[in-house]
Assembly symmetry: C2
Homo-oligomer: 250 residues x 2
């Protein structure tokens, strides 16, 4: 690993609908790519149900383990939205109407439309920092190193911009992919030798099946470009020796 301290994070996906298989989570991939660009590595993702004790315990475990924790889901107006109250409990903070969130939502809705259900979206740890929501009004919030975002992917995406400047990242994690027309077992030994020569590069090997043909994507990841380049050269060397075709890169 590099000398620079690695900045690591965890993601907590809150929602029975993901666990039941009804909804396909896509927020993990969105958050991970965005964090990579800031030099923050996602070390763990947990998908957990809408159960207060589990949310409290998971948040308390992960916020000690990681520099940053991101939660998605459970901040809407209905009875199954219990993230804000659970986070208050996890941090031992007062759960109640957040002044700024109340005034923000009051302005967002037409007069008379700011009903009880909508007001619930302004209930959270009363001293939380808001995460602004340009898409649909209702804000997310942040307490210490924990950032709470909604579950709806398009709304979540629109809110990341308001968090980037609050995070201290490391070196951005660079990656390069080499797509080969081969199968993993043909290159396993050579690739393992390259990994041993380049311990600071994370080398992944992923079989793919595209347009009726088998292939393997080799993914090199490191925060140092020269390390990726060295690794790349060593791979190209054995690939040529073995007469393996290199296909289009992504």
């Amino acid at each position: 690993m590099t000398n620079k301290k690695e900045i690591i994070s965890g993601i907590i996906i809150i929602g029975n609908e993901i666990l039941s298989g009804r909804t396909q989570d896509t927020n993990t991939s969105t958050i991970s790519k965005w964090l990579n660009s800031l030099g923050i590595k996602v070390q763990e993702v947990r998908v957990i149900p809408d159960i207060e004790k589990i949310i409290v315990d998971t948040v308390n475990e992960l916020r000690k383990k990681y520099d940053y924790v991101f939660t998605t889901g459970g901040i809407g107006p209905t009875h199954d939205d219990i993230t804000a109250s659970s986070i208050s409990k996890a941090f031992n903070l007062t759960y109640g109407p957040h002044k700024e969130a109340m005034s923000l939502l009051e302005k967002y809705y037409k007069p008379g439309e700011f009903n009880e259900g909508r007001q619930k979206m302004a209930w959270m740890p009363t001293n939380a920092n808001l995460i602004y929501n340009p898409t649909s009004g209702a804000p997310g919030f942040n307490v210490e190193n924990v950032f709470c975002l909604p579950g709806v992917p398009s709304i979540l995406k629109s809110m990341l911009g308001d968090i980037s400047h609050k995070l201290v990242g490391g070196e951005p994690i660079l990656s390069q992919t080499i797509n080969l027309r081969t199968v993993e077992s043909e290159i396993a030994k050579s690739l393992s030798m390259v990994q041993n020569n380049n311990k600071d590069v994370d080398i992944g090997s992923y079989p793919f099946f595209r347009a009726g043909k088998l292939g393997v994507a080799i993914v090199l990841r490191s925060s140092i470009q020269s390390q990726i380049d060295k690794c790349n050269l060593e791979i190209i060397k054995f690939v040529k020796e073995k007469n393996i075709e290199i296909v289009e890169k992504d």
Copy 2:
């Protein structure tokens, strides 16, 4: 909850490619839906990196907590495939060539093609039970309540059939969805009352945006159809009172 013991499970998705956001996990949803049909509930999913200590610790934690644990990924021939050796360590079992797996793969490949890389796919806890793979030869395996499957979604799917008969399920979990042309805040209070009247039904509320229109999907889940029906009637009642349109069901 029903009197019958709930059968619960955990899923461990092993792979840096999911954590980096490069690959979108779809195996969670596949496994969850299949388990639901067997009456087994997924209580937790963890996505973890290709690091032995983390795999060992996570498997050992989850196999005590849940009736069944399913892992995906890391059972191929390359250096980053460390699931089989990690499971051996977690259970304190000998990691080596599995007799039946070796003979199975030897028959699968043409003479002379069963090279070192391919032989690695037969290395696992030597006394594991195999999970047969009709798609690409290399088997998965099972030790006690832990079932290890590959990461490639199409191969994983093809192997579930060989596990179903090994699992003891509960009552299949039934679900019904009611799609409403409304927003969550309009129904939050009424829905909360229905949930209080029907504590054995898991009621979820999920906003959607389809064909340019907002809506809310109400999902009712229980293993008892009559409970779902009762809940459904109570929802239809308040929906009619509020003049909310019911849109096509899924």
